[in-house]
Symmetry: C2
Subunit: 194 residues, 2 copies
DNA sequence: ACAAAAACCGACTGATCATTCGGTTGGGAC
DNA sequence: GTCCCAACCGAATGATCAGTCGGTTTTTGT
């Protein structure tokens, strides 16, 4: 199991940082110390290796989010959404490679032809959107949030947060300095007046 | 000039839809009808071809935005920002290939080592952000917009709009159905109460 | 009309790639 | 002790790639 895990770990880094096509199996072999044949013993081919990585990305992101959601306590729905936004930004920093992989184009391209890949991606995005929506619906009930379409509002909110996270990824602007403005915008979108 | 333009046009499509690495010069040669040597007569190498494309992407996007900004008339700053958001979404649809190229990871990777590439990207994003900021500043003056940090608000707004546009690109969710919610969120962020 | 330059051609090259295969090793079951 | 299977190895393979080069055609300036 040791070599297999080493391959998975190194491949996650390489696929994220360099991309699928520009990661070579020989480089992966050199880095992990595993022979070329060993990689193909554990994984049918390069695409299969990628799918295995995407699967663990899905599992780890969703488990992190759900874990956070269980332990965190919120005063109301608005508070929950703010907590989720903050946690998402934190997660994008601590699981940099995994998010980098999701911010690449290859997974979505592969999803066009590979249903398994598509299901992983949908699971990730639906899971994340669900948490946003949950907070919004709670906020509607306790009057801390005002909106008529919880799902759509969740999507706009998510697009905003993920867009800011991507600014970081691209090294164009620093997301940290946007944090205050992002939270303020979030509160305004949700309609709380203070 | 004919062959050169044909190469540029076809390469823009291929780089956008398939990516830099997964676009081969032989495929480009086959599609355009230009011999392999002809491509390298017009462009030093594959990277040089890419930079030429990115340059025209920058020029065409910025000229479209500035053109729109000149002809459009706004009642106030809030109106202008709304117009810019709508126009940006429209542009992302009508210049699909160009935006797809910008939504890929390769340009930003190349920008890490190639200053020319980085300057093109910065020019595009700064140009777009400037237009958002312009509307916000106008809105502050005419009291249609309330915010203390125009540039940061512009960035958050841009991240949101671009994030929604990317949902489309990834074929995960349909941006059209989010338009109303996006505009509503935009108005709320800018602080206008109606 | 003609010479020089620019556009164009396609076969060739060496490097790199994902994947295969025949064989070796090591540890658990009986 | 020996059978078995999974983990592991690394040389070999055929395909594909970006880029080169020597030569031909077309355009342009005068």
């Amino acid at each position: 199991m040791s070599k297999r895990n080493a391959i998975l770990a190194a491949a996650t880094r390489l696929f994220s940082r360099n991309g699928f096509r520009e990661t070579s199996m020989s480089e992966l072999s050199r880095i992990t110390g595993a022979a070329g044949g060993t990689i193909f013993h554990h994984f049918k081919n390069k695409e299969d290796l990628f799918l295995n990585i995407l699967k663990t990305v899905q599992e780890s992101i969703l488990s992190e989010v759900h874990e956070h959601n269980k332990t965190a306590e919120y005063r109301n729905g608005m508070d929950m959404v703010e907590g989720v936004v903050t946690f998402y930004l934190h997660l994008a920093g601590s699981m940099e490679d995994q998010f980098l992989l999701l911010h690449r184009h290859y997974p979505y391209q592969m999803a066009g032809t590979n249903p398994v890949c598509r299901s992983y991606l949908e699971s990730i995005y639906n899971g994340l959107l669900d948490v946003f929506e949950q907070g919004i619906r709670m906020g509607i009930k306790d009057k801390s949030v005002i909106t008529t379409s919880p799902r759509n509002t969740a999507m706009v909110l998510f697009a905003m947060v993920d867009g800011v996270a991507r600014f970081n990824t691209y090294n164009l602007y620093h997301a940290g300095s946007l944090y205050q403005d992002l939270m303020a915008s979030c509160r305004k979108i949700l309609g709380n007046e203070n």
